[in-house]
């Protein structure tokens, strides 16, 4: 199976989605994404941290030091109200974008043979 590189800007959306359920630390986010994508997404781990910091700076995430179940100190990230709003809006945008692109791409496939017929 080929692994898809993550499109620019969508990583933020995925991170927010990951945290929508419960606060997590960095590795938990990575693992969650890998599980959710069933291994079909190509993400460099450091890129994820960069995305997290960016989201924190924008006030969409909040960070707090906490302790893992194995008693290790970890930075936990939690989505903020602003983050949730952002996630909702961007999800909607992404869906309609994806639908549109899909629609166009599939329509073009149908068109080719009909032109060949003339």
């Amino acid at each position: 199976m080929t692994r898809l590189p993550v499109l620019k800007g969508t990583l933020d959306l995925l991170v927010l989605r990951a945290l929508n359920w419960t606060p997590m630390h960095g590795f938990e986010i990575v693992s969650w994404l890998e599980r959710a994508a069933t291994g079909s997404l190509e993400i460099e781990d450091s890129a994820l941290y960069q995305a997290v910091y960016r989201l924190e700076e924008r006030g969409l995430l909040q960070a707090e030091w906490g302790v893992t179940e194995n008693n290790r100190r970890a930075r936990y990230y939690k989505i903020t109200t602003a983050g949730r709003t952002h996630l909702r809006a961007e999800t909607r945008n992404w869906m309609s974008y994806a639908d549109t692109v899909t629609a166009i791409l599939t329509a073009a496939q149908d068109a080719t043979p009909s032109r060949a017929a003339t």
Partner: protein, 883 residues
């Protein structure tokens, strides 16, 4: 859960720059470890797993640098937003807290606003008049140059004369002390418009270089006249901006149009901006600028000059004296006129009054600051418990301090905004009330430096006292504050002392102002009711411009005036009329030495100014003056050698004995004839109540009619009944009779200056008094609030309400009395400042001091009334139960 922002705020101090760097490192380390564990669990060996973890993470050093960079960015951004949101939070909290105590907040803001507004308004006036009297470049080196008789002034009259053109020419040619000399001659002239309408305009004759001297670069329109215009004798005129705007509607097409000024046709060649003028202290803006021809020997002119840097006034005077002596052929030691150089501020008539006013307003500002200070202190003391509770709940001292500062900032800001508005309003009120002699004050603007200083002082004192209050509250132990609650007598001990001190000093400052204002009010009242020595009511003066109407020969003037006088007498409502050389408000001098027969001769070099007036015999009766001894003139022929003198002169020379029949003269050469004294009349103050009335005045019979004689009219009705007189003059061929002036109006105009200052000072005194009252009220209200529980217990135990009331009032009165005592002592010296402004009252007038003390203490007692009533209305049960 404590908000992360708050948590962060506390950690802020602990976290240094490398703090978040280490966080990033830790995070990476943890990630790699967890990833390696995950891979190991999938069955790889440890080394392999770690290598794979590193690979998936990305190039380590590069990634780490990128992450650290991102983290730094994040930290900085978040610090900024947190600071802002904290500030917003503090401010909104402050607004809410202040909103809960509306009365207190309103009083504090109003106090600040009044202080800032009043100070700014008055200092703006003072600064435009005194500090920047002339808006010229290098104004500190600008001086006025006049001449003065060099010696033997034995009449006590100090007169300066303006220099004649030849003298100014000599000065301009030879001076090394001055960069430039500028001559000017102001006057009022009649302007006729194309449709024949006449009006009086303010004109000034100046050199072509004047705009450059005054720092005005270019005309609004057209050009300034040049020396070629003057050499060619061109009749050209340059308009002033306000004249151009108000009278000509700012028309762009005025150039090359003509104006008729005093019957001469002038061509308009330019318009000068309003900044060209003689400063705010001049009577009114100049309407038109005309060329001054320095070559015309007959002209006299006011001279302004700019000293060269480093030259002194004394040295310059010597130099001009010697140039004058050389050019006029005098020996240096024996010049009849000496140069007198004054600074623009010295020239100002209300100089002392304005300085005094500035001092008064500074005092008001101090009172306002003191007020704000103890309003803040009182508040922080009553909030001690609140602050203690918040401290107990974990708010740091810095946080509380910031909270209090935020409150004082909100107060200062609102106060400043209101203050600027009040200042603007006040300045315009002052301008509207300005006396006529300060007409050009119209252009005064809000002085931004003063405004800045006033705001800085108000805000700084607010912050300082807020901080002080916070510190004192914080020092008191939290435990004590909570335990004692409102049982504490008056908060921390330092508070009470400081507040007492503030109230007493406010009271003292107010007392000083009160005494000063009372003295001035009394002065103005005496000025208004002063006996001028002549009867103002129903007295009018009429100037008859004979020579301007073409009556050039002496005979024709005598003829026309004879008809004028006889026809005037026939107009109903006119009781009597008499001609004189000068009417009240004007003066005419003879220069020479007064010689009295049978008295030792006076030194020949003596040269005095002596008031002389030529009058008709009926003058004294018309004026309402009294002939004390002797009679009015009996000989009015051209050869008459009779003279009438005033009482002051008679007393000085004959002290009690009758001077009738004695002879005297004003000698310059020795050829003047001796005059025989036929009568003595009472002293009059024709230049206003404050003018000297006992200086020598000589009245001589009017034996020939001058070119502009004055006619004094005693009428039964008001000025409108005199309209037929004007019509009659026109009939007789006097083409431009001036309007008839009421002496009542004229004389009240002469005390407009002192009245203006008095009005202002009285206003500020009332303001200071109100502020001091508010201050005392604040302190008393606070004290009562503190002692509510104690009062409750005392009432419950059967103490009569009166005793409690008495203790409250006694406390307030004590402070007021202490303040009054200090203030009156201060006034004992302070009134020296206004001594020159006083009239008909001494500077240590006991009545004024008493008024000051009584009003002050009265205000203090009033300020205690509300707190006392509150103390009495305390319901014992509520008071005791209140936590």
């Amino acid at each position: 859960m404590i908000r992360s922002g708050v948590r962060r705020a506390f950690r802020l101090a602990l976290r240094r720059r490398d703090g978040w760097e280490r966080d990033v490192e830790d995070e990476i380390k943890l990630h790699l470890a967890l990833r390696a564990e995950q891979l190991a669990a999938q069955g790889r060996n440890a080394d392999e797993a770690y290598a794979e973890a590193l690979r998936r993470f990305g190039p380590l050093s590069e990634s780490r640098a990128r992450l650290i960079d991102a983290a730094r960015h994040r930290e900085q951004h978040m610090q900024r937003t947190e600071l802002l949101s904290d500030l917003r939070q503090d401010v909104s909290f402050a607004v809410r807290t202040l909103g809960r105590q509306k009365g207190w907040t309103a009083v504090t803001i109003l106090t600040l606003a009044l202080g800032i507004g009043a100070t700014t308004a008055v200092f703006s006036v003072v600064s435009s008049l005194i500090l920047h009297p002339l808006p010229y470049p290098n104004a500190d080196r600008i001086v006025h140059i006049n001449q003065q008789p060099s010696e033997g002034n034995n009449t006590g009259i100090s007169v300066t004369i303006s220099a004649a053109a030849p003298v100014v020419r000599a000065w301009m040619k030879a001076t090394r002390s001055f960069e430039t000399l500028e001559g000017s001659q102001d006057s009022h002239q009649t302007m006729k418009t194309a449709n024949g309408e006449q009006s009086t305009i303010a004109t000034s004759l100046v050199f072509p270089t004047f705009p450059e001297f005054a720092g005005v670069r270019r005309p609004l329109l057209g050009r300034m006249f040049t020396k070629f215009d003057i050499e060619n004798g061109a009749h050209v005129v340059v308009l002033g901006e306000s004249f151009w705007r108000n009278r000509l509607g700012s028309s762009q097409r005025v150039l090359n149009q003509t104006l008729t000024i005093s019957d001469t046709l002038y061509t308009i060649i330019g318009v000068m901006p309003a900044t060209l003028g003689f400063g705010a202290a001049s009577a009114r803006p100049i309407d038109v600028w005309l060329p001054l021809d320095i070559r015309n020997d007959k002209l006299g002119m006011a001279v302004m000059a700019r000293l060269r840097p480093g030259m002194t006034v004394g040295g310059a005077m010597k130099e001009l004296d010697s140039i004058f002596a050389r050019s006029q052929g005098f020996e240096f030691g024996k010049i009849p006129f000496r140069t007198m150089i004054t600074t623009p501020a010295q020239k100002l008539r209300f100089h002392d009054s304005l300085v005094m006013l500035a001092v008064a307003v500074a005092l008001v500002m101090l009172v306002a600051c003191a007020n704000v200070a103890h309003l803040l202190l009182a508040r922080s003391a009553t909030r001690q418990r609140e602050l203690a509770i918040r401290a107990a709940l974990g708010a740091g001292r810095g946080r509380l301090l910031r909270q209090l500062l935020a409150e004082s900032l909100v107060l200062s800001f609102t106060g400043t905004v209101c203050g600027v508005f009040l200042g603007w309003l006040g300045l315009h009120a002052l301008i509207a009330l300005r006396p006529a002699a300060l007409g050009a004050l119209e252009a005064a603007q809000l002085d931004l430096t003063t405004l800045g200083i006033a705001i800085a002082v108000a805000v700084a004192s607010g912050m300082a006292f807020a901080a002080m209050g916070a510190m004192q509250s914080a020092r008191a132990s939290t435990h004590d504050a909570l335990k004692n609650g409102s049982l504490a007598a008056s908060g921390p001990r330092g508070h009470g002392r400081l507040r007492g001190l503030l109230v007493v000093s406010e009271m003292a400052l107010s007392a000083m102002l009160l005494v000063g204002a009372t003295l001035l009010v009394r002065s103005v009242v005496s000025l208004q009711h002063a006996d001028l020595g002549f009867e103002l009511k129903g007295l009018y003066a009429l100037t008859v411009p004979l020579s301007e109407s073409g009556f050039d020969s002496r005979a024709s003037r005598a003829d026309v005036m004879k008809s004028v006088m006889s026809r005037l007498a026939a107009i109903p409502g006119i009781r009597s009329a008499a001609m004189a050389n000068v009417a009240p408000g004007g003066r005419w001098f003879n220069i020479g030495r007064i010689e009295v027969q049978d008295e030792p001769p006076v030194a020949k070099s003596t040269s005095s100014f002596v008031d002389v007036n030529s009058v008709q015999p009926g003058y004294f009766a018309t004026m309402g003056m009294r002939v004390k001894t002797g009679s009015t003139f009996t000989d009015t022929t051209a050869q008459s050698l009779q003279v009438i003198i005033n009482e002051g002169f008679a007393r000085h020379h004959w002290s009690g004995a009758s001077p009738i029949g004695r002879r005297m003269r004003i000698a310059q050469t020795d050829s003047e004839p001796w005059l025989t004294i036929v009568g003595v009349v009472n002293d009059v103050s024709t230049s206003g109540a404050a003018s000297e009335s006992t200086a020598p005045v000589l009245y001589t019979p009017m034996t020939r009619v001058s070119g502009r004689p004055e006619v004094l009219i005693r009428a039964t009705g008001n000025a409108s009944t005199l309209a037929p007189a004007i019509a009659m003059l026109k009939q007789l061929g006097v083409s431009k009779p001036t309007p008839i002036g009421s002496m009542e109006v004229l004389m009240s105009g002469l005390i407009a200056g002192p009245r203006f200052v008095m009005l202002l000072l009285a206003t500020f005194t009332v303001l200071a008094l109100i502020l001091a009252g508010v201050g005392l009220y604040g302190v008393m209200a606070y004290t009562v609030a503190q002692r509510t529980r104690e009062f409750g217990i005392r009432v419950a135990l059967g103490a009569p309400g009166q005793r409690i009331a008495r203790s409250v009032i006694a406390h307030g009165t004590q402070m007021a009395v202490a303040g009054a005592a200090i203030g009156l002592a201060g006034a004992y010296w302070g009134t020296k400042l206004i001594e020159k402004e006083l009239y008909g009252v001494t500077r240590l007038d006991p009545a004024s001091f008493a008024v000051g003390a009584i009003v002050l203490i009265g205000t203090a007692v009033l300020a205690c009334v509300v707190p006392t009533r509150r103390a009495l209305s305390v319901d014992p049960m509520t008071a005791i139960r209140a936590d």
